[in-house]
Symmetry: C2
Subunit: 188 residues, 2 copies
Amino acid sequence: MATPERLIEATRELLWERGYVGTSPKAIQERSGVGVGSMYHHFDGKAGLALAAMQRSAQELRDAAEAHFAGPGTAVQRIASYLLRERDVLRGCPIGRLTMDFDVIEEARLRAPLDELFAWLRARLADLVAEGQTDGDIDTRLDPQAVGAMIAAVVQGGYVVARSAESAEPFEASIRGALQLLGYEDGA
Amino acid sequence: MATPERLIEATRELLWERGYVGTSPKAIQERSGVGVGSMYHHFDGKAGLALAAMQRSAQELRDAAEAHFAGPGTAVQRIASYLLRERDVLRGCPIGRLTMDFDVIEEARLRAPLDELFAWLRARLADLVAEGQTDGDIDTRLDPQAVGAMIAAVVQGGYVVARSAESAEPFEASIRGALQLLGYEDGA
DNA sequence: GTCTATATCAAGATAGAC
DNA sequence: GTCTATCTTGATATAGAC
């Protein structure tokens, strides 16, 4: 793997595990096997490297979500497919967790990828809810924007309660609750 | 205010703003106006002080929630009262945010207050959902545990999406979505 | 109980040789 | 492009005087 590539991958892992404040250049150098000089040659310090890592992670999450949203089935089934997809629950969301990082939120350039991902996700979910209403699967009295936001939030909040309990169970219960309220009937 | 008290209050503020990893003993000393020697005399280092601060914040959140849960009205109205209460949305949850802190989750003693708060909250919400079912206000086909977990999660996730957008709006939309799905009718 | 001095190691980089 | 050396400041304490 090329040097910038190794730096980005190591940074993505560290940001996911420890957040931005908890990630040091030294740790990035050790995990990537890249030396100090090379790191500062290829990137504009910790912030520049983190930005590249965040952009890639956000794009991956977006592609993964879109694969479910654009898949087969009714709108409700596609929302369920997204909510029920395999997740490493206790690791949390590699992008959502950075939202609690002071230095990220404070700097517009670093907050931008988070903002774009979640704005896209809420809008996409709102569209699917509206589509479900057209199909007759979702109550038309509901506000699609509000329900879309709620779906995005329940995933992020699910990670929070799961990590506090050191167990995936509260996450899974949260998703189950949301799906039941949406009238989704699974095979169970 | 007594010295330990000043230390705890300063630490609570800093943990809320910057998280555990982002809070240094030096910052605590500066914000509290207490010297190094005094800090280490009264508390077992950063971790001990953080533990005291976290325990107090968790208790406050619990008392605040219980005031809504034990208030007047139907179960659904009391859930709504909790969800709609005044919040400093962009600051997030002083306890929930610590869930993304590596050093907190890693150390059992520091994770305990988070676990206890959210376990209590989910159970309390599940009870209220069951009560709402008994009252005939909530669909009895729903699993109270799952819906309780979902309600706890939507608040925490609401903070995540709000902070990413630097706006309270996504938080408010998420809560609105959850309330609509619960069949809560407000005055709007 | 509080203060100042001191210690060790890490954070986050820059400089200049190769 | 990469390496080693070096720099400044901060993190997280401990020691011992007052």
